[in-house]
Subunit: 410 residues, 2 copies
């Protein structure tokens, strides 16, 4: 086939961006593909007038499902329902589907990838992680000669904006959140962002690619940023570190993996330490490449649309090319319990005559130890979470006052 | 075809890395492809013993050329001869070729891409820019929905190492170069690196992808780092800037482009300002994505091999998929003359009673102006190079002493 008809499902922020970006670059895309391509339908329950694409709007999904001319579909509805049903039916009807829907990929990816493979079509989701930043395809294809050993990312722009404001302008978490809401970076119910659920979906997707096994959100320890106080920001700043919400994956030698989302104290040497505002960044470690990093706008209408359009083009370019499914639903949890994960930890404790000695006797010589404003700041070497928690209990039972602890990312 | 036979031409640093990385990840690659794959031949004029692959070595290119089983070839010989002849003959024999050979791609890319297209095979070169960093494929595919408006990169690790030493350890250029040679980062004849020719080849390749027209090295103004003095390093450091060798591309509205290699004074806000040592980084601006950056090891055996292997896999995955040629040989020079390029400039002049007034009257209000050690430091707004040079002449004719000027990258 030398001509492709595309359907775009959903005309919200991302959907309208996809139509705009595709329309603007259509000639160049056709030249690069050696095929013509056009958007035939835009599906939305709301009527849109004066878009310049009025005649393409439909509100009945079945029109797309039953039109054999449509070979590629962009699902930019978001959420699991009806996106899951629509995606499944498109794939079963022999249409490739591309999406920015991280929730759907993180919860139903293995199932949809299998349906896509059975029908010899694609299910692609470059836009589901890192907005416009190329990360899924580099991870999947460019680093194929590597065992991916670790992924650490700032993959939620809202929380990164809040933390940046807390650091640069000494705002409280609450004030920074209000500002983010005012600027449209955070929802009125900000839980998906500030509690880490959005970042969790994204690390699930990257972990699934890296491990070849579906990593489900319910198996990933997820902790948000709402408990971070000005005191921690101040201390981090004084020792030259920063605090970021980190989505983290580590391959273990037994075939399992660590996968978690947690605020971490970030070493200034890390490539993630200077990623600010709503920007995202991902650092990938592989046994051949060493370390490769990706940085850019993690959200927004046009950046996300840029990624969706690249997947539309990939489907057209790759029409008929078979590939085994990207990851399997192994039915068993391949993520180790959070108690078995290993990190260096930061401890902020009330200064006492005994606390530094006690810390040293429990954790060994510190990586960093400072006295700041009647507090002892102590960074441990890497330690298993269960051992760390036990040691903290011992400290508290001895009467020491522990203000806060955080994982450390080097 | 469900099985692929690969030939590796050249068993130097990169070639031995390709064999090592492919061997190590072969099982995982085969699983991802759903096909088997093996290295059948390794071509080298030198005899290698005890490699674990001894039986694969051959020294006659014709064996590869005439073996129809071989469908994919890695050319990691380097240089134009005999790499060009071998590559051409492989493509004409219906074999896809992948390479790390930036010199060959930069000088003969359009011709080889056309031969590849005529024979319905691939000519890929992810490893030719940025070593192990995914950059070619992201530029080509992930950002396909963008008009690429600007590329700025640190793409030569040797010069970046030298500049890092000059900044961090106050070494002279000569001492830093000697150290780079001692550590194996620079050749005994370091011209290709320090004079910017290597970076020139890489910006030619990226510019050709971005513009769709072959940008040839002889049209790209290329200036190296050997004239940078400790005085400039000291001043840059004092004003919070750094100096990097920047490979630069900018699309112009008339269909032409700016393409050059030059040391630049880099604004601390640039994502390139904190890329140190032998690492590389590339910042790409596109009208949809905004800005996306890529960072990692720009050279080295295993990182480069990682990129070559990813291209081998791409050839096997994409077997039989036709694509128009990536860029055309337009026969005319699409790069504007260096005198017509526009940059902000940094000026370091001897302090005099008149110099600041004269600078301001010629260039307008400065972006930055400081007095440092009996010198005036002045950063202009963006100005056309020809106008800048004329203004500098006027200054010198008025008796002002201009120590040094540099382009500025914001």
């Amino acid at each position: 086939m030398n001509s492709h008809k595309i359907a775009v499902m959903g005309y919200g922020v991302v959907g309208s961006g996809v139509v705009e970006v595709f329309d603007k670059t259509r000639k160049s895309i056709e030249a690069k593909l050696g095929k013509t391509a056009e958007i035939k339908y835009i599906l939305d329950i709301v009527e849109h007038k004066g878009t310049g694409f009025d005649e393409k709007f439909i509100n009945d999904f079945k029109i797309i499902e039953c039109d054999p001319e449509v070979t590629v579909v962009a699902e930019v509805i978001g959420g699991v329902n009806p996106a899951f049903d629509f995606t499944k039916r498109c794939l079963e009807a022999g249409k490739s589907v591309v999406t920015s829907n991280k929730e759907l990929v993180a919860t139903k990816g293995a199932e949809l990838l299998e349906i896509a493979e059975q029908n010899n079509v694609k299910y692609l989701f470059e836009a589901s992680v890192g907005g416009g930043i190329p990360i899924i395809r580099p991870l999947r294809y460019c680093l194929v000669g590597n065992n991916i050993t670790q992924i650490a990312g700032i993959v939620n722009g809202t929380t990164n904006f809040i933390l940046t404001k807390m650091f640069r302008e000494q705002m409280s978490f609450e004030d920074a959140l209000s500002l983010a809401q005012k600027l449209g970076y955070a929802e009125s119910n900000p839980s998906a962002d500030v509690d880490g659920h959005d970042a969790c979906r994204k690390i699930c997707i990257m972990s699934s690619i890296a491990s070849g096994k579906h990593v489900y959100p319910e198996h990933v320890y997820t902790n948000g940023i709402s408990t971070i106080t000005s005191a921690d920001v101040e201390v981090a700043d004084k020792i030259g570190y920063t605090i970021k919400l980190i989505a983290y994956y580590k391959a273990l030698s037994n075939g399992k993996c660590e996968a978690l989302v947690s605020p971490m104290l970030v070493n200034p040497r890390s490539r993630l330490s200077n990623i600010s505002d709503v920007f995202n960044g991902v650092v990938v470690k592989g046994d051949a490449v060493g370390e490769a990093s990706f940085y850019g706008p993690g959200a927004g209408k046009l950046p996300t649309a840029s990624a969706v359009v690249s997947d539309l083009v990939e489907c057209m370019r790759m029409e008929g090319v078979c590939e085994p499914v990207l990851w399997q639903d192994t039915k068993e949890n391949c993520v180790v319990d959070i108690k078995d994960t290993c990190f260096p930890f930061y401890i902020r404790a009330k200064k006492s005559e005994s606390v530094l000695n006690r810390l040293t006797s429990l954790f060994g010589a510190p990586v960093l130890s400072e006295n700041i404003a009647n507090q002892v700041i102590f960074i441990t070497n890497e330690i298993k979470q269960a051992d760390f928690e036990n040691a903290i209990k011992v400290l508290e039972q001895s009467g020491e006052e522990i203000h806060y602890t955080l994982r450390v990312l080097n």
